[in-house]
Symmetry: C2
Subunit: 243 residues, 2 copies
DNA sequence: CCAAAAGTGTTTTGGCTACACCCATGA
DNA sequence: TCATGGGTGTAGCCAAAACACTTTTGG
C-alpha cells in the first residue's frame, strides 16, 4: 500500500552526461526490446522513467529513477516540463509495448533532466542495457521521448547561458579549454579562445589550482575549480532587459 | 465518456493582468466559500483550474479553463511547472473543501500562466466571484496556490527580460512610459527614463504611430505598437555567456 | 626537433550608466 | 499661468569582438 503506484503519472529522466575525452554531450537511454515467436516486435530505446508512488514527491521519484539507473544520487536535476497529450503513447510499437506493461495509454509524465559526468556511470553494473548516445545523434526512440529530449536540450542551452550549471557536467578539476569545448558542444558554436579564456579567468569563482594536467601527451594545461561558495556570495540578479 | 474527467490530474491557471491606469500587475483568482449551519468553514481564494478530460491535450485544458473564467481565447499562455507533492492539498480547509468535490487528495496539477490585459476581462459576467489582486498583495489562498503563483511570477520575471512578452500585457497602442511602468511593476525596480526610452525607440519593431494619446489631462504622449513580424524577422539568438 | 595544444595583448566598437532641464498640454 | 507628465543629449566606462603568433611540453 505504501508503495502503490499511480498508474497514470510517471517521471521521465533525461540524463545528460559529458565526455571530456570525446567532447561529446550524451544522453543515457535504455533498450526497449520485445519479440514474438516469429519476429522482433519492438527494438528501440527509451528514457528511463517510472510511475510516481502514492506517497512520494515528484523530485523523489526523479531521484529514485536516477539511482536505479546509475547508482548515483545528489546530481543536478531540474523539472522542466510535463507531457500528457492523449496521443503521446499511441504509435504502433508503443501500443504493443504497453500491452505488456501495467500502465495507462493516457499517462502524464513529469520530465526532469540531470547533469552529470559520463565517466561517473558504470554501465556494466546496469541491468537495463543502458547506453549513451550523443545528443545530436540519437537512435530511434519510443513514445514521445525524442520530443522530451529535444525540449530538455533546449532548456539546457538557455540555462547554461545564465547559470553556472555547466560545471555539473565537468570533473571538479578542469581546464579553461574543457569549459570552452563544452560550451561549443552544447551550443553548437565556435568561441574565440582568447576572449573566452580572459573572461573566465577574471571570474573570482573560477580558481586556479597549484596543479596541472598529468598524463597528457602534450603541454599540460592549468587546472581550475569552480567555487559555488564564491559564486553565491557575489551573485546578484541583473535586470538587463534584452528584448 | 468523451468528456470523462481524469480525477487525479488538473490544470491550474495563473492569470496575470496588467492595469495601465493603476500600474498594477494583478492575478485573477476566484472565491472559495463553504459554510455549515453554524459557521463559515472555508472562505478564501484559489486559482481557477479543472481536471484534464480524457481526450484533451494539456494546452487545450488550459485554454478551456481560461475561456470558462474570462470568455477570452488566444491569449499568451505558458506551461511553467507541474506540482504533485503528496501533501499539497492537505491543510485543514483544503480537506474540508475536497470532501465536497470529486477529486483525489493526491492530485497532480500542471500549472500555466496567462498574460492579458485586466481591462479585457468583464468580471460582472462571471459566476465564480472572480477578483483581481495585485501580485504583491495577494489574499489568503487555498491549496498550494500561493506557491504556484510565486513560481509563475518568478518565471515571468525571468522571461520578460529576454522575450517581448511584456506587450501581451499592454494594449496594442502604448506609450514608452507604459512599457517602462510595466517593467518597473514586474521587476520591482526603477529604470532611468532617458536610457529606457532611447533603447526602445531604437528597436525597429517598436513602431511610432501617427497618433497621440487622447483624453488625457496633460500633454498627450506618442503612441507605439509592437510588430511581431519585424521582431521575428530580425530575431537571432545571441549566445552571450553570462555566468 | 617536431607535433600539438596551451597560452598571450591590443584595438575597436557598441551598449549601458549617470545625470537635469525644457516642453507641450489641458485645466 | 500653472501643474503635470512627456520628452530630450552628452560624456565616461566597460565588456565584447576581432584578430595571429609564441611557448611549452612529451615523444
Amino acid at each position: 500500500m505504501k508503495n502503490e503506484k499511480i498508474l497514470n503519472v510517471s517521471v521521465d529522466c533525461v540524463v545528460f552526461g559529458y565526455d571530456v575525452a570525446t567532447k561529446s554531450l550524451n544522453v543515457l537511454v535504455i533498450k526497449r526490446f520485445l519479440e514474438s515467436e516469429k519476429e522482433v516486435l519492438v527494438d528501440d530505446y527509451v528514457l528511463t522513467g517510472y510511475h510516481v508512488y502514492q506517497h512520494e514527491t515528484l523530485d523523489d521519484t526523479a531521484t529514485r529513477v536516477l539511482k536505479e539507473l546509475t547508482g548515483l544520487t545528489n546530481q543536478y536535476k531540474k523539472q522542466f516540463k510535463a507531457f500528457g497529450n492523449p496521443d503521446r503513447l499511441t504509435n504502433e510499437k508503443d501500443l504493443i509495448w504497453i500491452k505488456n506493461e501495467e500502465f495507462n495509454t493516457r499517462t502524464f509524465t513529469i520530465a526532469y533532466y540531470f547533469l552529470l559526468k559520463t565517466d561517473d556511470v558504470d554501465l556494466n553494473k546496469n541491468e537495463h542495457q543502458a547506453k549513451w548516445f550523443p545528443v545530436n545523434n540519437l537512435p530511434e526512440l519510443g513514445f514521445d521521448h525524442k520530443k522530451i529530449i529535444t525540449e530538455a536540450y533546449e532548456d539546457l542551452k538557455t540555462k547554461c547561458l545564465s547559470e553556472p550549471i555547466i560545471f555539473k557536467l565537468l570533473p571538479d578539476k578542469f581546464t579553461i579549454n574543457d569549459v570552452q569545448d563544452l560550451y561549443e558542444s552544447i551550443l553548437g558554436i565556435k568561441i574565440d579562445n582568447r576572449n573566452f579564456r580572459r573572461k573566465l579567468i577574471n571570474k573570482k569563482y573560477i580558481i586556479a589550482l597549484d596543479e596541472k594536467q598529468v598524463g597528457v601527451s602534450k603541454k599540460p594545461a592549468q587546472l581550475y575549480i569552480f567555487s559555488k561558495d564564491v559564486y553565491d556570495k557575489m551573485f546578484q540578479k541583473n535586470y538587463l532587459i534584452n528584448i
